[in-house]
């Protein structure tokens, strides 16, 4: 009985795979090349601008570490402001990973759900939804950093 069930499942899976392949010929591909070019130039531009700002701050006498932090804060805040006035989604639709992969994408993923759920209240609406998309990033990133810290503690001894 269970063997037959397993067989049925196998058949279903194969049918699904065949159908998916069949569907593929009707689905236009994303514009791989032009998307990649756009992501490269916009992403590169964001990074270059960040470096320019950092150098500017350092020329004003800021420590390198503080300057880098200040740049991060500026990038985060400007991405969030752009999200607020409704421009970021249009920019991202054009630039794709060019603005999603830099820290700007992380900033956007926090504000956008918080704005969306404002009507559900400031605590369980905006307050909670601030982390629906960014939460996983923080959870995984921080967990890995702790593990790496512990591994280094063991190795260095």
């Amino acid at each position: 009985m269970s063997k037959k069930k397993k067989q049925d499942e196998q058949v279903k899976k194969e049918q699904a795979k065949a159908y998916e392949k069949y569907v593929k010929q009707f689905t236009p591909n994303p514009k791989y090349f032009s998307n990649a070019i756009k992501a490269f130039f916009i992403g590169g531009l964001v990074c270059t601008a960040a470096l320019y700002l950092q150098n500017l701050f350092m020329a004003q006498g800021m420590m390198k570490k503080d300057a880098a932090t200040a740049v991060t804060v500026i990038l985060v805040c400007s991405a969030q402001l752009l999200t607020g006035i409704g421009w970021f989604d249009s920019i991202a639709r054009f630039a794709g990973a060019g603005v999603i992969v830099p820290i700007t994408g992380f900033a956007n993923s926090m504000v956008s759900p918080a704005m969306e759920f404002k009507k559900e209240g400031l605590v369980l609406g905006s307050g909670a939804k601030l982390f629906t998309l960014a939460g996983p990033v923080l959870v995984c990133g921080i967990s890995v950093s702790v593990i790496i810290g512990i591994i280094h503690l063991i190795i260095d001894k």
Binding site: T48, V101, I103, M115, I142, G149, I150
Partner: protein, 118 residues
């Protein structure tokens, strides 16, 4: 010259993200997680620091740079504080960015409302 390398490396990291999005159907949140974790692991293995030295903002501004900061913070703090350092270091290093994102993000959310797409 610094600017050129920041541009090229930063751009390339974004291209990797774009290719992941187009080829694998991974959603942006998943890509963010993958990049941060990858950055942290590469840092732990000592492979990301050279890229940062070389490309500066080109390596720290994209999300692997966030993972890099988390891991670097933990690794540095462990040397001084031992086990507690592993718990404190990562967040301490990135505190300014995360706090800014939370506080400013919350303020923005209070001021603005979403507009329908056209």
């Amino acid at each position: 010259m610094d600017y050129l390398w920041a541009f090229i490396i930063g751009g390339l990291i974004c291209v990797i993200g774009q290719l992941l999005m187009d080829f694998t159907k991974l959603t942006p949140p998943r890509i963010l997680v993958i990049f941060v974790v990858a950055g942290a692991i590469l840092t732990g293995l000592g492979l990301y620091q050279p890229i940062v030295d070389f490309a500066k903002s080109g390596a720290t501004v994209p999300l692997p740079g966030f993972g890099y900061l988390l891991a670097k913070g933990a690794m540095d703090a462990v040397k001084i504080d031992g086990f507690m350092g592993a718990l404190v270091g990562g967040l301490k290093e990135t505190a300014a960015g995360i706090t800014a994102a939370i506080v400013f993000g919350y303020i923005i959310a209070l001021i603005f409302s979403p507009k329908p797409l056209r």
